[in-house]
């Protein structure tokens, strides 16, 4: 059972990561650097509970702000770049952060511990071990999964409300055509940075939750693979509405686990699924049109005109 609680918590963490991509995706900016903000959040969150004596929720919130600060640092200069240039800049930044995390050493000696394992805090390439907050405070995996999902629900509600507000229309205008957005009078750069920083905040929180679940993190956890998977959740789940990232992250965390019996083939099956979705549903599994159809089930279905009616 504990195994499935771990999966549940991990799913929630991945949902948050997917939403961190989706935030800037709404303004048409594709980031492949979310692993950086996730990693910063993980290190900050873990340091606060292990070395700083913070409680979990405050540590997660501060980690969120750390992620936001990091994304502000990247966002302000790079969001002036367009399209792919921005994406490449995020990749480069994520690599830089990974290398920094890999070489970070601070903390204090541990009173107990075996030889070679007497350090509390990140210890260079060895990583950051003994993030024992859950254990020390008697929080079970099930309770932790619940905490994670409460945060997920808050974030989902937040996106639900934003998507029905004026802000969503503004972001969509920026996504479709920046020239139009500027001609209408929208301060494009400001909105793009704000969306990106919100994404950084969510990624930071997600990273802190991840660190406490795993109890051991190292720079090697925050490689580009993580960033690409996070983007895949959004693209495959569907980037047009907030339901896509939710479905994508849940499916792509739970599915590989349930497919464990078929062992090595599960990764291949996973890849095949991605290809099939991209071939047959390029808008992702949940498109905006599908959401419109489901949310107004009483509306008559659009009739396709028969050729004879055209005359």
């Amino acid at each position: 059972m504990s195994y499935w609680f771990t999966i549940a918590a991990l799913t929630g963490i991945n949902v948050l990561l997917a939403y961190s991509v989706y935030a800037s995706f709404m303004s048409g900016q594709v980031s492949i650097g979310q692993a950086a903000f996730f990693g910063v959040g993980a290190y900050v969150g873990a340091s606060l509970t292990v070395l700083g004596g913070f409680d979990l929720i405050s540590a997660v919130l501060v980690a969120g702000f750390a992620g936001a600060a990091a994304s502000l640092f990247v966002g302000v200069p790079t969001l002036r770049l367009k399209g792919y240039h921005f994406t490449i800049a995020t990749v480069a930044f994520a690599e830089a952060v990974r290398v920094i995390l890999h070489n970070l050493k601070y903390g204090r000696p541990r009173s107990s511990g075996n030889v070679g394992d007497q350090w509390l805090g990140p210890d260079g390439a060895t990583g950051f071990r003994h993030i024992a907050y859950l254990n020390e405070n008697g929080i079970t995996t099930g309770q932790y999964a619940l905490i994670v999902w409460v945060i997920v629900v808050i974030v989902v509600i937040g996106f639900f409300l934003v998507e029905r507000s004026r802000i969503a229309r503004i972001l969509r205008t920026i996504e479709e055509d920046e020239v139009v957005a500027r001609a209408i009078g929208i301060p494009v750069a400001r909105y793009k940075v704000a969306a990106f920083v919100c994404g950084g905040f969510i990624a930071g929180m997600s990273g802190a939750l991840y660190a406490h679940l795993l109890t051991f993190i190292s720079g090697g956890d925050f490689i580009i693979h993580l960033s690409t998977i996070a983007l895949a959740y959004v693209v495959i789940g569907g980037g047009q509405t907030m339901w896509g990232p939710l479905l994508g992250a849940i499916l792509f965390t739970v599915l590989p686990e349930t497919l464990r019996p078929i062992k090595d083939f599960r990764i291949e099956l996973f890849g095949l699924l991605i290809i099939l979705v991209m071939l047959f549903r390029p808008t992702g599994m949940i498109s905006a049109a599908a959401v419109r159809r489901w949310s107004t089930p009483w509306a008559p279905k659009a009739q396709r005109k028969r050729p004879t009616e055209a005359f």
């Binding site: 969509r172 479709e176 020239v179 139009v180 500027r182 001609a183 209408i184 009078g185 929208i186 301060p187």
Partner: protein
């Protein structure tokens, strides 16, 4: 209302517009005509802040807008309807119109103007819930102009509104412009269709490779033999 002195616009080392001066007074319809590459679009993009102005002074309603960013210029009431009927195709007609009122906060005024725009273009009312991307070229142009009007412009800049439309629709676009003119709106019109543009404007500037080569009353320019030969294709 708009005073431009010695405007220069450069893209890298190439200057697309050199020392252009022009004025638009309140209530006037002024047109910029010229062949492809004459710098018409560059001028209006620079005016609305979409491309930077290399040098020159630009004053709009007594405010210096030479170095203001685009969104602040729009806020002052200089509204640019860009070339190519740019819309947000995945949003409905109504949503596109409401987006045009981004800078305004008077809810009642926005609702009234939405009604007014739909009364002006009944076609848009019929299609208010349709996605903008599924409309025809003429309807899109109406929507683009309608969106510009939603911003409550003091000066409306229309960039090539007749470009790529069927002759019947071109006529309709110029009817719309005539209607706006009658209501006393101030318009700066960019056109390749020189004859129609001269017919529906008070004054005109003729551009050639980034410079103003002729200017004056539209009806006088329409009689000018040299201009007729070069731009109207008549002898």
């Amino acid at each position: 209302m708009l005073d431009v002195t010695n405007l220069t616009v450069s893209y890298g080392a190439i200057s697309a517009v050199r020392n252009v001066s022009l004025t638009v007074k309140a209530g006037e319809v002024v047109t910029l005509i010229g062949a492809n590459g004459a710098g018409k679009t560059s001028i209006v993009k620079a005016l609305s802040g979409l491309v930077p102005k290399a040098s020159g002074a630009t004053k709009f309603r007594d405010t210096d807008i030479s170095s203001l960013p685009a969104h602040e210029i729009t806020r002052l009431g200089l509204v640019h309807v860009p070339e190519g009927r740019k819309l947000v195709p995945s949003m409905s007609v109504e949503e596109n119109l409401i987006c045009g009122a981004y800078c305004r906060t008077d809810k009642q005024g926005i609702a009234d103007d939405l009604d007014a725009v739909m009364a002006r273009f009944p076609r848009l009312r019929e299609r208010r819930h349709q996605l903008a991307g599924t409309m025809s070229g003429g309807e899109r142009q109406m929507l683009a102009i309608g969106r510009g009007l939603m911003a409550k412009p003091e000066l409306l800049i229309l960039d090539e509104p007749s470009l790529g439309l069927a002759p019947l629709l071109v006529e309709e676009v110029f009817n719309i412009i005539a209607g706006l003119k009658q209501e006393g709106k101030t318009i700066l019109l960019i056109e390749q269709n020189a004859l129609e543009a001269l017919n529906s404007s008070d004054r005109a500037y003729v551009l050639r490779v980034g410079e103003v080569v002729m200017s004056g009353q539209s009806d006088k320019l329409a009689e000018d033999p040299e201009l007729r030969r070069a731009y109207l294709g008549v002898n």
